[in-house]
């Protein structure tokens, strides 16, 4: 239980992120929720690659050669970039919709239905 | 052109500071020196309009330049120590008497006003709240205003500092 704490944190963060996107009605808030979700997955990926006692996988001035796994870090880097791209595009959509509709409430953004 | 040269040189110097300890030409390796030149040129081209925004080259004088560390380590640090002890005292005892006062800085250049403002923010129990764009007068929030000082219309910079005359130092550096 105590040893798996980072994984539990990932679970809690994911649930919080999901509850933000499901229970909140403000589009900016929903974007924040998606951001938290992405961060939670990133954390999961990094934690998966952590080795007890390992150091960062960089040989420059490294004190030892027992290292944590490098691939998760590479994946995580990519997913952070994707996260910021997503955030920027979502928020610009939200801003344009606010100009058009005068609202950021997702319950009122429903010109399209049925 | 001068702006470009100065900015590039500053950038180059900064890069060399970052990479000190990389090799054995001095403390640098050959490739770092070459990279310093290239990156300095790029940075100079991009940021020359900002670092030399006002096209005053007074600070290019190495004497003034080298005075800054002296100023920071010497009088400024002393004032800072005193200010922090003061803040510690205020935090523990909650004896405060705050107020926003106006200080005639008397600085002629923007850099001087800037340095004074930052020194004021970090040193005696004060924070710069606003600056008058035309006259460089500072509005500062003082955490413990002595009795009776709220009647005074203006303060001068020297009155704020007890241990060293920081405005004089700043004038020496920036004007």
């Amino acid at each position: 239980m105590f040893a798996n704490l980072p994984y539990l944190t990932v679970v809690v963060l994911t649930v919080i992120g999901l509850s933000i996107i499901l229970l909140k009605r403000n589009m900016v808030k929903v974007t924040m929720g998606l951001n938290i979700l992405t961060s939670a997955v990133n954390l999961l990926i990094i934690v998966l690659g952590y080795r007890e006692g390992g150091i960062a996988p960089i040989y420059t001035l490294a004190p030892q050669t027992y290292m944590v796994l490098p691939t998760p870090q590479a994946l995580c880097l990519t997913s952070i970039v994707i996260g910021v791209a997503t955030t920027a595009l979502l928020l610009s959509f939200t801003m344009v919709i606010y100009r058009k509709y005068g609202t950021v409430n997702v319950a009122e953004m429903r010109e399209l239905k049925e | 052109m001068i702006a470009f040269a100065i900015t590039a040189a500053v950038a180059m110097g900064m890069y060399l500071i970052f990479t000190a300890g990389s090799g054995n030409i001095g403390y640098w390796s050959l490739s770092e020196l070459i990279a310093a030149v290239g990156l300095g040129v790029v940075t100079g081209a991009v940021t020359k309009e900002f670092l030399c925004h006002r096209h005053e080259y007074r600070m290019a004088n190495p004497l003034r330049f080298l005075l800054i560390p002296v100023y920071v380590i010497g009088p400024f640090f002393l004032e800072m120590m005193k200010a922090n002890l003061d803040v510690a005292y205020r935090v523990l005892t909650m004896k405060i008497r705050p107020g926003i006062i106006r200080v005639k800085s008397g600085m002629k250049t923007d850099l001087g006003a800037f340095m004074l403002a930052n020194s004021i923010t970090l040193t005696p129990g004060t924070i710069t709240v606003d600056i008058d764009e035309a006259t460089n007068d500072l509005f500062i929030h003082n955490i413990n205003l002595p009795e009776g000082d709220e009647e005074k219309e203006f303060f001068t910079g020297e009155e704020l500092f007890a241990l060293a005359n920081l405005p004089a130092w700043i004038r020496r550096i920036a004007e």
Partner: protein
């Protein structure tokens, strides 16, 4: 046959259908020829005959799309009154549906 599609349990050949279409086209053409013989442009023949009533304006004659299949939707109104409101147009509900399906599948996986 090159054109035959064998489906394992049966087959299908488009040529049959093409021949049927050709036959229908020929028949239609013959019927059309018969009518064309007695047709003169510009006469009263061109006017549509609506039981002796005057021809309505073109806008009125055009039947709007939403009136088609009115009976169908009316007959299935019990179904439509449930399904159509489900398309709320709220993005949170979209996400809710996705997550519900995921949760249901997860429960299914746990059971099996």
């Amino acid at each position: 046959m090159a054109l035959t599609l064998s489906t394992g349990s049966g087959f299908w050949n488009p040529v049959v259908w093409l021949i049927a279409i050709a036959v229908v086209v020929v028949v239609v053409y013959l019927v059309w020829r018969r009518g064309e013989a007695g047709y003169t442009a510009g006469s009263a023949q061109v006017k549509p005959f609506i039981s002796g009533n005057a021809e309505p304006a073109k806008k009125v004659a055009q039947m709007p799309a939403s009136n088609l299949y009115w009976g169908f939707t009316e007959a299935l109104s019990g179904y439509y009154s449930r399904v159509v409101p489900a398309h709320t147009g709220i993005v949170t509900d979209y996400l809710l549906w996705v997550l519900w399906v995921t949760a249901a599948l997860f429960l299914l996986v746990v059971i099996t």
